[in-house]
Structures are given as structure tokens and as C-alpha cells.
Amino acid sequence: MSALTALARLEAVAARRARPLATVRHCHLSATPLVVIPLRLAGEAGAPLAVMLGGARDEPVLLAVPQPRNRDLRFAFAAELGKVLLEYVEASRGVAEDLGPSKDGEDRVRYTGAPQLVLPNTGGVAFLRLLGRSTRFRRTEGEHAVEPAVPALGRWLTWFAERRDRPGSSLTLALTEALRLHWATGQSSVEDANLAALLGWIDPPDGLDGPAAATIAEDPARTPPAGPATDPKFDNDVLAPAIAAFDEGADGAGERVREALRTQLAPTWELCWRALDLLAALPEGASVAGRWERDRDAFTHFHQTFAEGVPQARRDSAVGAARRLHRLERAQESYEAQRAFDDPLVMAEYRLEGLAFGGTVTEADPERLDESGKRPKLRPRLRVATEDPLRLEPGATVCDAARPKVKGKIVEYGAGEVLVELTGGLGKKLTPEPGTVPEAGARVVFTSVTEGSFGPARFPEHEETPWTHGGPPAEYVPDARDAGEAWS
């Protein structure tokens, strides 16, 4: 946390209401998301109890397991969930756009749409990952045969979970995390993990302030938890007797379990849509569409290779892990830089740290030429008055936050003034393209933040894995033991 976030939190305490941490929205919101609220049985790692899901606010679908310890019922649930998810994935992809051939002549396409799963919190995401792990190795034939939708569900959930590790991806949103990126509350991060309490601070109901709304939200009797864990009191008083009745074969007992679970899920369902409304009310950041395009690329690739693919391995190979780490680090860097360029409030963090400075241009020499070399070069200079505590040395490379392609370097710094020389992004002529060099009197922000300092990945092929890393790995083939793994 920085002093800026800390200050926002203090302001929230004083205002008794959340304060903004962003001026634009940094995640993509699909026009047709799939809201998913999973519940699991207490004490079990991967025993699903129920899920409420759907793409229409007034039509939640409830899938439930009336006896979560029953393996057959569990697989039937997984198959049902798989069918709903696959149907949604197919409906979300739109049409394939032709992007023309790539450098090596292969046809490239990108779907116009992609699925977006919306979960109440990170616990829900973690549970879907586990559910994916427990279903993706199942087989559709042989001794432990299950419906085809089961392993398909597992592979898709695993893909969603892995893709979520990538900074800036919006294919799976955990609402508590998305909201916390945009608002600061007057409570701690521990309490912010409760979606209802977080929303209470951001958008309290009429007549209440943030702390009062959060107090109601924290009481499980008044606000059921958003999952995946259930309220222990609900488990003991309501769910356990209902499941016991189901075990005894009582009439309508399955329905009784379902209805009990519905009471726990329905309030969170409403909260999820409210959270989406709040996020949708923020203007979208400039680079959000570009990141969503990368998400669509990843989706297109996975969708198109799904039929010939195999379940994702339990562990990455050495080369695979190195590549993955490289991709994630690269995505992290560019996500952070893009957010700063999109949002002055995020850029303020860098100004606070002295890695950016903002101020007014006092002098501009837009057509200055550097004629010291053989050929003259266009090197406009700007003098910027700033109160920011700059920590960059002369010679440091910076770019214009409003036009990150316009690069420059710091020539001098002192007495509240910075002299910047622009070196690139001004066009090819000896006079700058219009709109690239700020005029005297303009407000500007320059920063050393960049995206793309990570070069391309240079790793050996799998078959050339060095002995230091275990040598070439055996080809990964899921085996029958995986398929028959106990799920109890």
C-alpha cells in the first residue's frame, strides 16, 4: 500500500463511505457475462454443494447436490454444470474475424467475443480451479466412465483459472478484487474480502452509511456469506437436517435442500449484479480494449485446439514453467504501465515515488534540431515547472503519459524545473507531427514507466531441456490412474 491508498482509506473512514482509487475502469466488462456463485461443503476440499449461475439477472439457474458425499450425485452435478458452461462458451464467441496470414503464412483468426466468468470473490475462483482439477482427468469410457461434459468442464475451468493468473486478464473477474482496484474503504483488507461489506461501503443502501451497511453485511444471519464457504450455523440448523431427510428418502427432500441453498445464494446473486452495475458506471480505460483483445486471442486458440488437446498436466515441465513465468512477468509490467497511462490517479502513485512528474510547460522549442552529427536530428526541448519530488537522474528515458509513444530524456533538473528533450515518436520529418509536442502553458506528465522492457522469451524447445532442469521431459499423457482418482 502506498501513502496515496492509505490517504484514500483515511478519507473513507472520515466520510463513512468508500473513496475512489481510480478515475477509469481497468477491467473489461462483457455485455453478456456469466455470473457464477459456487458453494462447497465445509471440511471438504473439492465437494461442490451448489452453484447459482446465469447471464440474466432475473433468471438465475440453481444447480445443487442434495447429498454432497454421494459420488454419483457429484458427477451428475459436474455434468450439468459442464453443459451450462459449454453452452455459454459457445454462445459467447461470436464470429471468427480473419486477421490475414501471419509471418509464417498461417491463417490467423480471432473470435469477436469471449466468455467472462464473474465470481463474488477470490475464494470462489480458487474453488473453481479445484473443481477443474478434480474433473479434467476423468474419462468418458472404461471403468470410471463419466459424461463427456465432466472432463470438458474440468479443462475449461482449469483454463479460466490459469488465464486469471495473467495480470490484466478479464476472462474471470473476482468482484471483491475488481471493486478494490477502484475504491478504498474505511475498513481493512480482511474485511474487504466480504463482498457485501465492501459494497456496503461503496454504495450503502438509503439511510445507512458505510460502517452501518458493513455491520449488517457481516452478520451471516442477515447476509449469508458469498461462498464458497457456507455459514456454519446454516449448515448445522438448516442444511444438515435437510440432507438427513434426503438420505432417509423423504418426499420432496431434494427440493428442500435446493431451496435451503437458494436462500443462501440469492442475496449474493443480487450483490454480484449490483457490483457489475457499479463497475459499468465507470468510463472504460483506454487500454482495456487492447487487453481484452489478448484475452480473445487466448480464448480463440484454446477453443480451436480443444478437440485435439489433452487435459492440462498437473505440473508444468521445466521449459513450460519458465515460459509461463516470463509471460506473466511481461503481462504484469505492461498492465501496470497501461493502468498508469490510462488513469491520472494511478500515475499519481509514480509521481509520489518520484518516477514521474507533472506540471506546466513554461517554454517549448518544438522545432529544435540537434546538428552535432552528420545529419540534423529533430530534438525538441521543453521546460516543465513541477512541484513533484523527482528521483530520476539526468539522462533518464521518459515518455509523455498522454502519448506514451513520444519518448524523451531528462536533460536537467533543479529548482522546481525539468528540462526534457524529446527523442522519438514525433514522426519522420524534421518538423514534429502536429499534436506530438506540448505547447507552452500545457499541463503534462512525463514518466520513466514503460511497457515492453521484457524482450521476447528465449527458451529451449522441450526436447532440448538441459540436464540441469531434468533433461527432456517424457511426453505428457494422462493415464487411467488419473481418470479413476478418488473423489470422496
Partner: protein
Amino acid sequence: MTDDAPDLRRLRGDAPARNHDARTIAALTANPGCSRRGLLDAAGVDKQAVADHLGFAPRFGQSQFAITRGNSFEAQVKADGCAALLALLRGDLGLDVPAVTSADLAPRGEGRAARHAETRRALGRALSVGGGALLDHPMLVLDIAGRPAYLEPDVLALQLAGRLHVVEIKSFAVVDGQAEPEQVAAAARQAAVYVLALRRLVAELGHDPQRVAHDVFLVCPQNFSNRPVATPLDVRPQLAVLERQLTRLTRVDAILGELPDELSFALDDALPESVRAVEARYAPECLSSCEMAFFCREEARACGATGSLGRALRDDLGGVESVEAALALAAGAADVPPELAETAERLRLAARLRGEALGTAG
């Protein structure tokens, strides 16, 4: 060793003493500097009852599904003289496990001191004889803040090749060799407390405390099955932290010395005042480990303590304890004490930058 001290009995209002369990241990390691928690735990006060009486009922209810699952897993591992556990250690970890004599030290109605004495005897026998030995439900004592605290760990102490290992049976799953980091961390912190208590006892019995291994065994269900899997866990880092924390604790006697002589946590009308008389150090982490947390949170919020927003935030504010004071610094308050000059400058800058970005700059 006395079973109980009269001053502590008075604090409890003559209610029966509670032993330290997994939760008080977690609270101790999460927030060692809190005098209120320290005193209540040292006196063996039923914090749940106190919090209930204060109107801030803790929410540590356990689902019967989780209890059933935990119990059945533990029973399965411990069945037939821990046959499954020993097979795991031989098979999964490749240890040379000889035949083992086991002693169940579970409560049978006798007092804490008597139970501790029995643990002491059983342990002394095992240490002298050597060879395989298994102590179930030992009653340990650890000197915390100058007073003996009884620990009732739900663990086994297993002696192999002359070394004692703490074995913790937990029902969270290990999936593909990984478990939830918070749960593993909590188990490791707990185990470290037991290792330390065992070491002190071993030393008291005249043996080398290093005979208690810093490698503990964590036994958990594997993947999505009921099959147990054993994982060795090195708790040396947790031991080091714990030992440092214990030496830095304010002594219970010192806390008591500051308090009125007649103070008691009996469940009566004077309770709120008695509890407030003992200083608390609330942090949001308390919510997951201490029964008093909701009460203390309310108190911290009412006086605008920055600590209620988390330790990271308080550190960011350079130790400014009150929200109001921090906001005043950000707004450019005059006469800033020199030790806060840097924090004040940073907060003013943050306020200016925030104002500029949100378009609310004056």
C-alpha cells in the same frame, strides 16, 4: 508446580480454567503484544463467554460437516495404534519405523496438573528406553509471560531413532503436493509451539532438548480422497519467531501490577469496564484468531485508531496512531513534531496529487 495461582483464579471469577488450544496459540503467535489477550489467556478465562456477555459474539462456529470430516479423518489415521500413520511414514517418507509402544494421554477427568504429570512420566519413560514410542494427546506446559500455560494440543509425539517428532493431523487437502498456504502456515506456527513446549519438558527431564526434532509431520488427506499423505515440515523459522516473541512478552505480573486489585472478568455488569481496563492491541488479523476481536475492533474504531485499517497502513503512516491526526497532517496542519515531518510531507504530497487527479484540487 501449582495448578493455578489465586490471582488468576480471581480474574476468572472462579470459573474453571481453560487450557490453551489451537485458537489461543494462533492468537498468541498472531498478536503477542496484546496485553488484554495475554492476560485473559494466562488466566484461562473463557473469552467466548466474555465476548458473548459484552454483546460481541465471536463467529467461530464450526460446521458439523467439517467436524465430522475432521474426526473421521483423524480416527482413520489413528486406527489400530496409528497403523495408517506408521505405514505412511514407512512408505511415503521411507523412514525406518520400528514397532511402536503407544500411550494415550487423553483426559479421563483428572486435573491439568495430574495430566501433565502423566505426560511427563510417559515421556520420561520413552526417552530413557529409546525406540519407537507414540504419545497421544499429551498435556504440555509452556511458560508464557512468566506464568505456566497448559497446552492441550491435538497432536501426537512420535519417537523414532531416539528423536521425537510432532505429528499434526489436519483435514485440509494436499492437492498435487500443494495445500492452502495460510493453513500450512497456521499449522506450522502451532506445531512450533508444541515443539518448544516438548523441548522444555525434555530438558526438565534431563535429556538433550534437541531430541525433539524441528521437522514435524503434517498428515493431510491427499488430493480429493480420504487417503492420508504425510509431509515433513521444517518449523525452524516459526520456532525462532516464537522464541523471540516469548522473550519480549510483557510479563503477566507486570500487567497485573498496573491493574486494580479487585479486577475480575466475572460475567457481571462490571465486565465491560474490567475488559477496557486492560489495554488491547487490535489488528484485523485478530478477527480470525481471537474471540475478543469484534469488541476490540469497535473500541479501536471508536477512538479512530489507524491500526484498525491494518498494520501495513499504520506503517505507511509512519506510526501516526489516529485517523484524525493523519488527515490533519495531509491537510497541512501547522506545528508538526519533527519526528513526523517526513510522514507529514509525504501525506501532503499525496493529498495534492490525489486532488489533482480527481479534479478536486483547490
